[in-house]
Symmetry: C2
Amino acid sequence: MKAAIDEAKKSLGTGGIPIGSVLVKGGEIIGRGHNKRVQENNPVMHAETDALHNAGRIGSYRNTVLYSTLMPCYFCAGAAVQFGISKVVVGESKTFTGARKFMEDHGITVVDLNLPECIEMMEKFINENPKLWQEDIGEL
Amino acid sequence: MKAAIDEAKKSLGTGGIPIGSVLVKGGEIIGRGHNKRVQENNPVMHAETDALHNAGRIGSYRNTVLYSTLMPCYFCAGAAVQFGISKVVVGESKTFTGARKFMEDHGITVVDLNLPECIEMMEKFINENPKLWQEDIGEL
């Protein structure tokens, strides 16, 4: 989760939305990513899709764990379901409840670490950038 | 739908998976895309995500229609749900049943045109490339 938080901070440092993610297989990080809506003007590069993108074509996703600083939205949760990711570990779901039940209904184990560091980072960002945040979660 | 089929053919012509998609708003195509797993070695560039990527940051997705030659998988259906797309029109769902109920449960109108041209294109591709297709739908 530390690596995912580092990705979120990297995004914040480049003017973007502070959500980071890493994909882990066999105990090793095989893909890192962060939200790039602002940096690349790209609405589909959420943190999790960016991590999956950067991991490349790995074949089977069995026994992979997707870490994200925030509970995945339906888009990224849909990726976890479709790709067959086994487990999703998130930093928090207080600032955005996301699609936990949808993932669990499809057999994914979801762990919410409820980390104050992740909550504070998102609360500050959302308070300072409400419109950008609404755009990112499709609520404009 | 003709533009989406053209995108699918473009993908096939460049060695890729023949699924195409366009995003329409106010009667105009604002984004075109096709599956780029092979061409860009990118597991998250499904046809629909590529069309959304190419449409850019459009703000609200209310009153948009997403056309795809094939019923969206959970990943792309998740994008439609999260972004708030109003309607999804597909060429077929015979070769892949996809996530129709998931989209309808979230208020999206789904229309299946059941087009022989789309069915034949995918049947031929899947028969000739079974492993690549299994990779694309996360069944390796």
